[in-house]
């Protein structure tokens, strides 16, 4: 009996990330070689970097007492950004429901599912800023382009999250409700909605928060809101006004984050 045990190995180690020491060496060698190569090709001009530093200093100096005298401009831009964010979140949410259902493999027929997934993949390929540039070209400068941009990307994002939630729900309750003779709509509202509602609301609030942040960025390419005001102040070298705008944006984003956390905690 003891002989049988003695023949088993006494040493065992968890497998490493690279499998063998040779492969680990090769990995680090490749990483170092790449770093050396990219630094040599980037052509970092030390003289230009050094010249930029004092310029950064003068800009910072001119920003220092932030200038809130044009507060009405600031307020209008801010209100526009917030309105864009809220309207875009609502519009996105409305469109995300059919999109999410269509993109859920366990609810939607195969061809519709594939079409919806393809739409989501294409929609997610482009960053908000790129979509904003496109919509600005279509509808001109202003908040309409911004609203459409964020509504579009919100619908895609919320639709994808909803589809994933629906796919991860428990199939049992759905089956049970279907077995009572309920229609598709009834099954959806009785078995699917209760399972995904809380998480979906959480995602919605999160999206409102991030739309608030996005709305400041897309303004820079001319899609309305405080971002447009900011970009204008930079081109006019109004650095003290720009710093006032930046401070206000920071305050709003912080508030949005706090609100989003607070609201999502209360959802439990």
């Amino acid at each position: 009996m003891m002989a049988a045990t003695a023949s088993y190995p006494r040493r065992w180690r968890a497998p490493g990330l690279f499998g063998s020491p040779g492969r680990r060496l090769a990995f680090w060698a490749v990483v170092l070689a790449y770093l050396a190569w990219s630094l040599s090709t980037l052509n970092i001009d030390t003289a230009r970097v050094l010249a930029g530093l004092p310029r950064a200093w003068t800009i910072l100096e001119r920003m220092v007492p932030p200038d809130f005298s044009r507060w009405h401009l600031l307020l209008t831009g801010m209100a526009e950004s917030i309105q864009i964010a809220i309207a875009a979140t609502i519009a996105g949410a409305v469109f995300s429901v059919p999109l999410g259902i269509a993109a859920a493999a366990n609810l939607s027929p195969r061809p519709l599912y594939l079409a919806a997934r393809a739409f989501i993949v294409v929609g997610r390929t482009f960053h908000e800023v790129i979509i904003a540039i496109f919509f600005v070209k279509l509808f001109g400068f202003g908040p309409v382009a911004g609203l459409l941009t964020l509504a579009f990307s919100s619908a895609i994002f919320l639709g994808k999250m909803l589809a994933e939630d629906i796919e991860n729900m428990k199939p049992g309750p759905v089956e049970a409700i279907r077995a009572t003779g309920a229609s598709f709509g009834q099954t959806f509202f009785y078995a699917v909605v209760p399972q995904v509602l809380v998480k979906t609301l959480g995602v919605l609030i999160y999206r409102l928060d991030s739309n608030l942040r996005h709305s400041t960025v897309i303004g820079i390419v001319g899609a309305g809101g405080i971002g447009q005001t900011l970009s204008a102040s930079f081109t006019r070298y109004d650095f003290d006004f720009a710093s006032a705008i930046l401070l206000t944006i920071a305050a709003m984003v912080a508030f949005g984050e706090w609100f989003s956390d607070w609201a999502r905690r209360r959802l439990r």
Binding site: M1, M2, A4, T5, Y8, K170, G172, P173, E175, A176, I177, R178, A179, T180, G181, A182, S183, G185, Q186, F189, Y190, A191, P194, Q195, L197, V198
Partner: protein
Amino acid sequence: MAAEVQAAGRPRPLLAVEGLAKVYPTGKKALGGVDIVIDRPQLVAVIGSSGAGKSTFIRCINRLVEPTAGRVLLNGQDIVALDRKGLRAARRRIGMIFQEYNLVERLSVMQNVLSGRLGYVGLLAALRYRFPPQDIQAAFALLDRVGLAGYHDRRADALSGGQRQRVGIARALMQRPDLLLLDEPTASLDPKTSRQIMRLVRELVAERQTPAIINIHDVALARAYADRIIGMKDGLIVFDAEAGSLTEAALTQIYGEEDWSSPQEEDEDIPAGAAAMASLGMTS
């Protein structure tokens, strides 16, 4: 038994299953032509090893699993031939009870019970939980009957397993079904609760004159509470008789000789390892 119910001169069987077969898309032949007739309200237990096709059989009856061939006649109407609308109407008359209860956990007990009536109300009424007063009354009465009076506003995820299964039973009975299907309703419950649930089901079958088909792994429970036992093996019925006539020989026929002691997958060569474990004192 005293509760034995005799149906007086029914013109046709309550349920007749003819040549019911199912081949899954994987190519697995789970049901190979099953025939049964239920001509009176009785509790029919289906036993058989894991993978014998019990769940497939029960799910083919209300077409949660689409059968490949065969007929399911409920009060003379072939369920397999129905279109979607007809199927929904037929499903209203078949109550189903699940091992995992399958309640909607975020909803209250009352909402879960009332969902048994969904087949009878429109979408808008269902959305606002506007059920007819007689449905609400029936729901309260059923909750009382299954021993859950006063629990109507509890959330389903705040109940114990036995209580959840009672809600599941009440939901199925809300349909006023002509047939009850139960897929291992006691498999997640302790022995005492299991017996209570079996007793309840048996009483309900007698009270409501509704036949019930119940998949069950516990042969003792089946013997104690069922009127009739069907044994399945490899997708076929190999035993179908009164509960009292289930002999050891019949059990061997259903479960097979070797199934009594070892798992059904192909035996692996474990003796050497077992000896080594014994020498390390790792087996009790």
